[in-house]
Amino acid sequence: MSKTSPNAAAQSRERRVWYLIAAVIVAALPLFVTDSYWRTNLIVCALNILLAIGLDFVLGYAGQLNLGQSAFYGLGAYSSTLLVLKLGLPFWAAFAIGTLMAGAAGALLSFFAVRLRGHYLAIASLGFAVIIYQILLNWISLTQGPLGIYGIAPPPTVAFPGLPQIAFGDLRNLFYLTAGFTLIVYVLLDQMVHSPIGETLTAIREDEVSAASLGIDGPKWKAFAFAVSSAAAGAAGCFYAPLVGTLVPDAFFVSESFMILAMVIVGGMGTLVGPVFGAVLLTILPEFLRSLGDMRLIIYGASVTLAVLFMPGGIVEAFHLLRHRLFPEGEMR
């Protein structure tokens, strides 16, 4: 949509201003949010944003449904933790391997199903989520099954000469780490979707036969998008483990995939900001709805269905509609 505006250079400048604003918000948040309960929530928010923009990259742009985010999340969390615990690898090496492993698993999975209609990939990834959950639960010698892994240490302290040490046991620093990483991923994805890669993925989403007639290798690009999406989930998992300190398989049950899907749908798929709003809303809102118990999930389910039916662009579309109402003769985007 943005490509058609007369001045692409101005838009690219505008994007950079938004990146800067986002960076300022990230930097400022811990100044206002000081108690550890809400700081933890902020970190969870950052991880959920990472999961949601990852899913949106494959769903909103390439038009492929990845229901395996919970599994890739779990894969990242367990593999990085086990690499540190069992092989004694440094955290950042384990982080890189965990992220790459999740990405590779995603690419492999999509390799099986991308030649077929999108439904196959959705179901195959759902199946993958079930398998991984069962493996985490049953491979007790490795994962300790339902008992879980306890006492996972935070990422190692970083020390730059001449500067104070940065310890990630401190929630503020852990927030800067996770939110900073999420922001970087956001920027990279945003640059990609506003490049010919974005054009290619949306072409596949709109009509794969037609895309092929323009030289686009559908299966290859779908696998690419799928791999990016699962790698983002893997990275989120690598951060999840030291944040919570504990890993149990139930954290990566299939329903987690549905939660991430809800964030993308409610926020608005096909834009990267949408899922950010969706993730923040669906992470923070439940904190205020605790009293509702299971009703909370009923509301999520309903909001997914209603959004698809009546507001397929989610919060972002609602926002645009509202702006049109308020400023009818304002500039068109």
Binding site: F112, L126, L309
Partner: protein
Amino acid sequence: MSSIVLQQAINGIVVGSLYVLVALGLTLIYGVLVQINFAHADIVTLGAFAAYGVTHLLSGNYLAGIAAALGLGAALGWLINAGIFVPLRERGSELLPLIATIGVSIMLQNAMLALLGPIPYAFDTPYSNQVIRLGTLFLTVQNVLIILVSGVSIALLYGFMKFTFLGKALRAVSQDRETAGLMGINPGHLIMLTFVIASALAGLSGAMLGPVLVLTPFAGTSVIVKAFAIVIIGGFGNVEGTILAGLLVGLIESYTTQFLDPGLIDIVVFALLLLTLAVRPTGLIAERREENV
């Protein structure tokens, strides 16, 4: 040893025929509409609870319970088609209806959880405890009933698709909307019929499996995941393939439970699914169709 093998074969066929019932509904809808109703699982669960409730209210009249499940399933199918698939049809998206029904599924499941709680219900029918012995083998009358009901429904459905005008029209729609229009049949009505039949089957299978599986609000979900695997292994939209794959998965499940570990069932089933996608992507009974461009 061999009697264990045989006993597990019987168990496998019992479970497998239930899976076939669930999967057939999915495959019917896919065949006609090329869409997935994710809430199919919850129709199964609701069917199970409806059967449970009615059976208990009528002090053990299981047949009335089955009828209630059938009716509830049909009604839900109608509702889901009218409320979700019809409005989304003109948007022509492959995934939106799937996503919308995932929402419905989350809603229904958690509504059931809120109302009925997570603790399994003991659903005993008058037939649960009557045991038939065949030498060293034994099976309950409930199991026999499951095989019979599934077998008869599958046969009826098969006959309907193959030999009646409506059934042929259904297959025509699945091949090509316009042809069906030419046969003088409104495709919209046919799609509705498909939903009602498929969902009634789901309700029915709920009533049948309630007594043999663990009856909680998640009962349908655990079955549907296997049903999806079956539908892909059998070839989406392919009735014969679905029946074959359903029985296969049932057998794999009972042998895995016996000789390996129950925890491995899902892993084995999905390994089979991935293998199918890798080797025969269009399913066991391949039916290669090229999109008419």
